[in-house]
């Protein structure tokens, strides 16, 4: 026990003492608790789901733009075979009418061999189209710098070759647009719902943490802590948990998209892979998508921190029956 010398005098601030772990301030809200770890896992899962929803929305929005760009720049003329007519000559004629029309950059008729190659994945290799009444396709590429009168081209073809029909893919583009908008909207709704669920989870966890740490809050009040100081301790606690969970969930989502990108790139050599890539793009997020997921992770942490601060302030408002 100490000798009973007079109470030591207060000292001026000491600036030069080295800081090491033994002296460093420990978080006042215990960090490594079971509830804290569980919440970090919940936040990680929520961030992962939110990042997936946002990532898929990005991929689909990009793919939809690609679809519109690719489909919109091309039109197709289909020449129907008729008995007694030379379909190769009809195809060449349709191509020359289209190529001469204002606003058309190129018109290219598929040869019989190219048509066979196109159908090979479905009908098998070694196909002889001369045995089948297969229509012939002419791909018409628009000149992006010039406008084109699609109805005028259709009329010109009708005059020159009544068996030819022009498809400008307008109906397709409209359907693709609608589908893409619905899917992106659904992904955005899932994203918002996940964020709301996470905010509620943090809210419950904050109330639980306050109830579990009531002794600490009381002790802090009695040693003269202001409500703002106590709220900051909880805010930092949940910010740390949010950053940990957000980094894990966001990192997992980025990793998943990178792996899907690698996988789909390798898979595109097959016919199914080509279809998947045509529908969903290359699953490549790009730096913009990765940055967006990183921002979602940080945003989730900030949301958790803000939620806890609001709830702690509200709860402390009624902690003692004194005038506010």
């Amino acid at each position: 026990m100490a000798d009973m010398s007079p109470l030591p005098a207060a000292r001026p601030p000491i600036e030069s003492l080295a800081v090491d772990d033994a002296w460093r301030d420990t978080p006042l809200v215990p960090a490594a608790t079971v509830a804290g770890r569980a919440l970090a896992i919940v936040i990680a899962i929520m961030t992962f789901l939110a990042a997936l929803a946002a990532g898929f929305a990005f991929v689909l929005a990009d793919t939809s733009r690609e679809w519109r760009g690719a489909v919109g720049v091309e039109m197709t003329i289909q020449v129907t075979p008729r008995s007694g007519r030379d379909i190769d000559a009809d195809a060449a004629k349709a191509a020359s009418v289209a190529a001469a029309f204002p606003g058309v950059a190129e018109a290219r008729a598929f040869t019989r061999q190219q048509s066979e190659e196109l159908l090979a994945p479905w009908l098998g290799a070694g196909l002889d189209l001369s045995q089948l009444p297969t229509p012939r396709m002419i791909v018409v590429r628009r000149d992006p710098a010039k406008a084109i009168d699609v109805q005028g081209l259709r009329a010109a073809l009708d005059v020159a070759l009544p068996d030819a029909s022009l498809d400008d893919h307008g109906a397709w583009m409209q359907r693709l647009d609608t589908m893409a908008q619905v899917v992106v909207g659904a992904a955005a709704a899932v994203f918002v719902l996940v964020l709301i669920a996470m905010a509620l989870a943090v809210g419950f966890a904050t109330r639980g943490a306050m109830a579990g740490n009531r002794d600490i809050i009381e002790a802090l009040h009695f040693v003269g802590a202001a409500d703002g100081f106590i709220a900051r301790q909880f805010q930092f606690h949940f910010l740390r948990l949010g950053l940990r969970g957000g980094a894990a969930g966001g990192g997992a989502a980025i990793l998943l998209f990178l792996l899907l990108g690698v996988f789909t790139r390798q898979w595109t050599t097959s016919a199914g892979g080509e279809q998947a890539e045509a529908l969903f793009g290359s699953f490549s997020l790009g730096w913009g998508g990765i940055l967006a997921i990183a921002m979602i992770s940080v945003g989730v942490a900030l949301l958790a921190s803000l939620m806890s601060r609001i709830i702690v302030f509200r709860a402390l408002g009624g902690f003692y029956d004194v005038k506010d």
Partner: protein, 208 residues
């Protein structure tokens, strides 16, 4: 509604005074200390602390008043995840002072109460007496104008109790008003000069 605790009790605590608050178990000693600390509001009546009516206090004023009061709880109220040093430094930390600015001050106080070698251990491994001294050091670190101690010698043997009492007397000599709640008559008898506030049947009898 529960049974009424305390009743028409009026008293004041003079600056630089030393008093025991005593009475049988259940008389309301701890409740009275909590009322003085403004931890609970009175259902009726008036509490004036440092010249301010407690009913008129806002949160900021309440916090400012609590910083003038040191308190030693019967159950210590040390935070188990902080070291002894960090517990004692807590009143300074909540004022957002830099750790380096109070390190020597806290270390010296811990040595003074005999916990110099136990600075970096956690409360669960401290003995009852060591916890008591850590709680007392935490109450003293701000050099409060008023010290409230609830059964501060309740968990220690008589020799250690006497030594802890000498700590409080030392603090009193340096200008702090001290209120010690205890039902240990033997202990009070050793400090004859102290004022006694005896609580019982809703009344407070004061023996100067």
């Amino acid at each position: 509604m529960g049974a009424e605790i305390l009743r028409d009790i009026s008293f004041d605590i003079a600056p630089r005074s030393f008093q025991f608050l005593t009475g049988p178990s259940g008389a309301g000693k701890t409740t009275l200390l909590r009322l003085i600390l403004l931890a609970i509001p009175p259902t009726r009546g008036l509490i004036t602390l440092f010249g301010k009516d407690s009913a008129e206090l806002d949160k900021a004023a309440l916090t400012a008043l609590r910083r003038k009061v040191g308190v030693v709880f019967q159950d210590f109220r040390l935070l188990d995840h902080l070291t002894t040093y960090q517990n004692v430094a807590l009143p300074l930390r909540v004022q957002e002072r830099e750790e380096a600015s109070y390190r020597l001050e806290v270390s010296e106080l811990l040595r003074w109460v005999g916990l110099g070698e136990r600075m970096h251990v956690y409360p669960p491994v401290l003995s009852g007496g060591e916890k008591q001294r850590a709680a007392i050091a935490r109450a003293l670190i701000m050099r409060p104008q008023l010290l409230l101690a609830d059964e501060p010698t309740g968990n220690v043997d008589p020799p250690l109790a006497r030594r802890l009492m000498r700590l409080f007397l030392e603090l009193h000599k340096s200008g702090t008003s001290v209120v010690i709640a205890t039902h240990d008559l033997t202990l009070m008898d050793q400090f004859d000069g102290a004022r006694r506030l005896v609580l019982g049947d809703g009344r407070l009898h004061i023996y100067d």
